[in-house]
Subunit: 205 residues, 2 copies
Amino acid sequence: MAKPATKAPPRRRASPVVRRADLVTATVSCLARLGAKGATGREICRQAGVSHGLLRHYFQNPDNLLLETYEQLCEDMLTQLEAAAMPYAANPQEALHKYFVAVFSDDWAGPDIIGAWMVFWQLARSRMDFAVVSARFNVRQRDLLERLVTRLPGRTDALPLADGIALLSAVLDGLWIEYYLSEQRTPRERCVELCDAAARRLFLS
Amino acid sequence: MAKPATKAPPRRRASPVVRRADLVTATVSCLARLGAKGATGREICRQAGVSHGLLRHYFQNPDNLLLETYEQLCEDMLTQLEAAAMPYAANPQEALHKYFVAVFSDDWAGPDIIGAWMVFWQLARSRMDFAVVSARFNVRQRDLLERLVTRLPGRTDALPLADGIALLSAVLDGLWIEYYLSEQRTPRERCVELCDAAARRLFLS
DNA sequence: CCACTTATTAGACGCTTGCCTTATAAGCAT
DNA sequence: ATGCTTATAAGGCAAGCGTCTAATAAGTGG
């Protein structure tokens, strides 16, 4: 049996949905700061300011928390990217530009989140469940990109559309990595500029 | 004091240079198979078929082994990429193509190595020493790419050269990620094909 | 105001890791 | 051969992790 409690530290209740969100947020932060190795269940709980036992109360295990975090992150990013571009539906070129800006915004490429994506990508290779989430997310993101591109006025088809989409998507990912590795060398504005240039060059010339 | 040894398992000596290479190879394999979390010092030694004490004999600590592995991997890849393209110096377009082929070859994007890069990228963000290696490697790789591109005959300068290089480099990284995430969806030949298309579109039209 | 649910904490256990230290034997020089 | 160097193995140790279990308190419904 456990020892009688010696002291009662402040213990405030929160609704399950809030606590889960807390843990998910802490997970992203830990992943970004400490990488895959440092983001342990206990460390996540420490960051969230709860005892390590609480993780098991809300999630099956730390891995499961990671997976759920990944799913939610993808969902959030996708909806927000869409929300960023859609208001400019009347001006396809501007919509695409806003999309680029959103991709490199602090919300999705900021210092306390960008590192998490890399960990998830890594997990997507060795773990089937993560691979599934990654695949689904990729398809939807590419669909969104395609929707934006096909609306561009005066589009040339010197390049097959599928190739163009694949290449623009690759440019996005590649620049994202470049930004990830050194935001000094390729700052955010430069990334967006290059994306715009790529879109013009691939589809409009 | 330690117990007297009960049995003498086969214990063959190897020259330091060979053993170090063994450990480096095992490290890459572990990183690719198990990710950052699974590539522990002990696991690497297990994979290399040596006792866990040997790691300390050749390297300061597991982290140091990782760093050295990263350095050597970069060095090897760079020299081999150069070696792949240079024989075709007379035909710049072909040289560039061979470069693309080499990037997506089994040697550098095969299943037992591709996962390691992702781990190193992840480390490059949280650890200064890895960041330095990454930065140096990036510069040199981009230089090589630039050397190949500037030789292309009939190059247009509708796009500033620096932009073109940055974009082609991004395409390479992005397609590499795409291949990494699902070689099913974007097989190797398709990646090379898209690289060729990007080079034409960016520099020759 | 009491009882019941459950969010939350804290401790215990077994395991693995990294580090260090000691013991052994393999190969080379003499 | 014999002895010295050192590559190699293996054990011990503290720390950290994931899992499980028991105890405690915070709300909530009666």
